[in-house]
């Protein structure tokens, strides 16, 4: 089988699958449609152009609470339980993802029940019940998530969220999407009603529909959602994230049997930028999520057995903790960041693992990809990216994300940009955007051991490593370098914190 023939087959297939997206507007409403008459399913993705960045100061969590109360509350006519009772026999689904920049309501139903489902779904959005009891239930759930899950029983999510807060200090991206404990505590039902009135206006609503729905549905939605106030969309201005000097470390202390690590820094690239596609190839080579392609995965897990997985990203990657192999749609950001995720490492090996990851990053920056690696990785991505959009629902999400970025459909853009790249383009992008210094590092460390762990980082203590297995000479030689690989820890900007103090306000 020749590689050239294989690529041709895949690309032809993709044209068939993606030729249907249509954009339109009605008043200030925006529509994206992927109609497929033969499909038995209908999917809605209704995006509200507001996210946690719109939370008022002191009311952090208001966007999330409002969205959750709409999706998990009632309508003017029906209580929450009555809504659930109606949806249940159809196995229809209504979810919401209140993200940083946007909030996405998703609905999925078999077309047998489309009319009744649409009435419910649209009533939830257009005529929310805003019941005091539902408000109390959802407010509790928000606070419990922060206090009893994120801070305490999900160390990998904690490491990622701590890194986000650390990178985006004093920036609208800096809080968890769900808010802060004090912010949520201070929110009243009136705050929610006022936020809804301000934000849920035509100017911010963007309706995506996919699947086997009748043509007339679009007109119905234009009429129904057209009754919302017109409103004005004002984009929240984003400051440039603060500079990073050296290696700034946040050690988060809580009971933990193994240490989760996330590290990274902002990069001025999104899917709209040409250089993004060069960096996409570099990142796939270095740390493609949940594959054995990446340097990080092969060197930390494959060669050394340090942990379960090691990956890198050039944009926010949602869904990774749930084991999803592909990026989830509808979590776009105007300002992106590069990050490395090391899954929990045995305590005695964590310092070494951090050094190893940064050593490999430095190698990537210094040496780049060989032409052979470049060709293999480019070829991989051209094929692999087609798998990201295996359902109409996912395709719709990706189409809408591309619109957000002001770029053509992401999967097509990959197919268009990658063949034009050279290995020199990729290596130039690495040099321009990546570095193994000036990086923020978040580590979740066991109770009572955080300060000692930080001290070993800050003093550049050698991180000796012991293996159960015999190792080849080349790995042992490399280990000698990694064991003392210097980390330029910025002691003024580094902190040791208790997890219970994070995300408080």
């Amino acid at each position: 089988m020749s590689t050239r023939i294989f690529l041709t087959i895949i690309i032809m297939t993709t044209v068939t699958l993606t030729a249907m997206a249509e954009q339109s507007t009605s008043g200030k409403l925006k529509f994206t449609e992927l109609r497929s008459a033969g499909s038995p399913l209908v999917t809605f993705r209704i995006i509200v152009r507001a996210g946690s960045i719109n939370d008022p100061k002191g009311k952090e969590g208001l966007n999330s609470l409002t969205a959750s109360l709409i999706a998990e509350g009632g309508t003017k006519d029906l209580t929450y339980s009555e809504v659930v009772d109606k949806l249940y026999p159809w196995a229809a689904r209504i979810d919401v993802n209140p993200d940083q920049e946007i909030t996405t309501f998703t609905g999925e139903v078999h077309r047998d029940h489309l009319d009744k489902f649409y009435k419910l779904f649209s009533d939830l959005l257009l005529h929310p019940r805003f019941d005091q009891s539902d408000f109390a239930r959802i407010k509790d759930a928000h606070i419990n998530y922060l206090e009893s899950t994120l801070r305490s029983t999900n160390d990998e999510a904690l490491g990622k969220e701590a890194l986000n807060a650390f990178i985006f200090q004093n920036h609208p991206y800096g809080n968890p999407d769900i808010g802060t404990v004090q912010g949520i505590t201070s929110i009243t039902l009136d705050d929610v009603k006022n936020y809804y009135a301000d934000i849920y206006t035509q100017s911010r609503i963007w309706i995506g529909i996919a699947g086997g729905y009748p043509v007339a549905l679009t007109a119905t939605m234009k009429k129904d959602f057209g009754k919302l106030p017109a409103g004005e969309f004002h984009e929240v201005p984003l400051p440039t994230p603060g500079d990073i000097h050296g290696m700034e470390v946040m050690v988060v202390e809580k009971p933990s049997r193994a240490y989760a690590v996330s590290m990274g820094y902002p990069i001025p690239l999104t899917r709209k930028d040409k250089d993004y596609y060069a960096l996409l190839v570099a990142n796939s080579y270095f740390g493609e999520h949940r594959t054995f392609n990446g340097i990080l995965m092969n060197h930390l897990r494959g060669d050394r057995g340090l942990n379960y997985g090691d990956y890198s990203y050039i944009e926010k990657f949602s869904g990774g903790l749930g084991g999803a192999p592909f990026p989830e749609p509808n979590t776009p950001l105007r300002q992106q960041f590069f990050s490395i995720w090391l899954r929990p490492v045995q305590p005695e090996n964590t310092h070494f693992a951090i050094r190893d990851a940064l050593f490999e990053l430095k190698n990537l920056v210094d040496k780049g990809l060989s032409n052979e690696d470049f060709e293999a990785t480019r070829n991989f991505l051209l094929n692999y990216s087609k798998l990201w959009v295996s359902t109409l629902d996912r395709r719709l999400g990706y189409v809408m994300d591309s619109e957000f970025y002001g770029s053509e459909y992401y999967i097509d853009r990959i197919a268009a940009e990658l063949p034009k790249l050279t290995v020199d383009d990729v290596n130039a992008a690495i040099k321009k955007y990546l570095h193994a210094s000036d990086i923020k590092i978040a580590v979740v460390v066991d109770e009572g051991k955080a300060q000692a762990f930080y001290d070993s980082l800050a003093t550049n203590a050698p991180s000796l490593i012991h293996y159960e297995a015999q190792k080849p000479a080349n790995i042992l030689e490399q280990d000698k370098i990694i064991t003392v690989f210097p980390l330029d820890i910025n002691k003024e900007k580094s902190v040791v914190v208790k997890s219970k103090d994070l995300f408080e306000k």
Binding site: P255, F292, F326, T391
Partner: protein, 448 residues
């Protein structure tokens, strides 16, 4: 009853209007696609399912071996460990070459292990079918790894245990199984006992025995979903020389439980109290109705439309989440009820409310309309899941693992239409008795 059957046939023909090859032969089947089965002389079965996913196939190999097969002391977690070793290469395709070939075809390739199965799955271009079959057949027949690679992979296994260790649910699963089972291998989780995981680097020789026993054609089924041609002739070419095995497994039967059990699980980090109530249930069956009846009951009693859910979660707001689940296992599994309780003072009240629900269900029949809603929910959920080749292959693989027959899915879902309110009362009376129960309470240490 008849109305329900007709209605669902309508749903499923709409789902795949172009794909049902022979409508007559499928009209009472929940699974809407034709299932083609062939068996090679060595016992390997090949299942192919035509599916309209242009250019994409899902290629699954179901090994009917999971942690259930770990009958020897000290060897828990080995089926899962072995799943990892299957990525360590052969003479023909050493690890790096194996990965490079997967990369060259742009495949999504991974595996998972459960109590009863180990499943290797690949999604890739249909034109890569022969390449995938070449690689998969080679590692299933000719896996070869060094002791050093084996010991290194043991680190990744410990890492996998570690990554889940901050969640109380991994520990709850371990502790409840350990308390509820005395003899059967479901006593340990698929990850295995931690002491066995930590001893894995010393088990190289046993790993060779494990491969020899279980990675045999009569214990495996290859499932290909999508646009595929010449599948059987390719399978004969690549798997034909694989030798039949001879190992006979003797999983100890679990004796009846005869005492009410309680496990306290202290938790160092902050957590809401988690109440777990587990009962021994039946084995999976597509002919006997107990499993299907308990699955319906899990929805009726603990699902989001149940009276208990509405009371505890929505009205009184004592409980943040509530669920019930009958685990589908080859041998008798556990029925789990989980309640994540907001305040420790309400633990007793929640436990009483669960007990009351179970007692009432023994004598109070559910209404026909409520039962119809749950049947409808389960069937629509099933139909809506089959939205790409990967999900179709994953769904059918579960039934192969349970019943060794993909057609089992149709027989199992047909059972739902036979079950009456009286059948549900009968299974509740049969399984939900205190001497068959294990209760676990997980609480933050200083809140106990």
């Amino acid at each position: 009853m008849e109305f329900t059957m007709v209605r669902f046939f309508g749903i499923l023909t709409l789902l795949v209007p172009m794909l049902i090859v022979s409508a007559e032969s499928h009209q009472h089947k929940i699974f809407p696609y034709k299932i083609n089965q062939s068996t090679l002389p060595n016992g390997l079965r090949i299942v192919s399912i035509p599916f309209d996913s242009p250019g994409i196939i899902a290629y699954y190999t179901v090994v009917r071996t999971g942690s259930r097969n770990e009958v020897e002391p000290g060897k828990s977690g080995f089926a899962h460990f072995f799943e990892h070793m299957m990525f360590r290469g052969t003479e023909k395709y050493p690890e790096e070459k194996f990965n490079n070939m997967l990369k060259s075809i742009g495949a999504d390739n991974n595996a998972f292990t459960s109590d009863d199965e180990t499943v290797y799955h690949t999604v890739a271009s249909a034109s890569a079918l022969e390449t995938i079959m070449d690689m998969e057949s080679d590692r299933f027949m000719n896996l070869k790894y060094s002791e050093a690679a084996f010991k290194t992979e043991a680190g990744a296994i410990l890492g996998e245990y570690n990554k889940n260790s901050s969640s109380p649910f991994q520990t709850i699963d371990e502790k409840v199984r350990d308390a509820a089972y005395m003899e059967h291998t479901y006593k340990h989780s698929t990850m295995g006992f931690l002491k066995d995981i930590e001893d894995m680097p010393n088990q190289y020789q046993y790993s060779l025995t494990f491969f020899d026993r279980w990675y045999r054609p009569e214990n495996c089924v290859v499932v290909v979903v999508g646009d595929q041609k010449k599948l059987v002739s390719l399978a004969t070419k690549y798997y034909g020389s694989w030798k039949h095995g001879s190992y006979a497994l003797n999983v100890p039967a679990e004796p009846p439980q005869n005492e009410d059990k309680f496990v306290q699980i202290p938790w160092k980090s902050r957590t809401l109290p988690i109440l777990t109530v587990a009962f021994h249930g039946p084995a999976f069956s597509d002919t006997h109705t107990d499993m299907a009846a308990l699955n319906l009951f899990s929805q009726l009693a603990f699902g989001e439309t149940s009276d208990l859910y509405k009371k505890l979660v929505v009205q009184d707001q004592m409980v943040e989440s509530l669920s019930g689940q009958m685990r589908q296992n080859r041998d008798p599994g556990l029925f789990f009820i989980f309640a994540r309780i907001k305040k420790a003072k309400d633990i007793a009240a929640v436990r009483d409310a669960i007990d009351k629900t179970l007692e009432e269900a023994k004598t109070k029949p559910v209404s026909q309309s409520r039962l119809a809603d749950v049947r409808s929910h389960l069937k629509y959920s099933f139909a809506m899941r089959l939205d790409d080749a990967d999900h179709v292959a994953g769904t059918i693989s579960q039934f192969i693992a349970m019943a060794n027959d993909p057609e089992s899915v149709n027989r199992y879902y047909a059972l739902y239409d036979k079950i009456t309110p009286k059948d549900i009362m009968n299974v509740v009376k049969k399984y939900f008795v205190n001497t068959n129960r294990t209760v676990a309470l997980t609480q933050q240490e200083d809140h106990q």
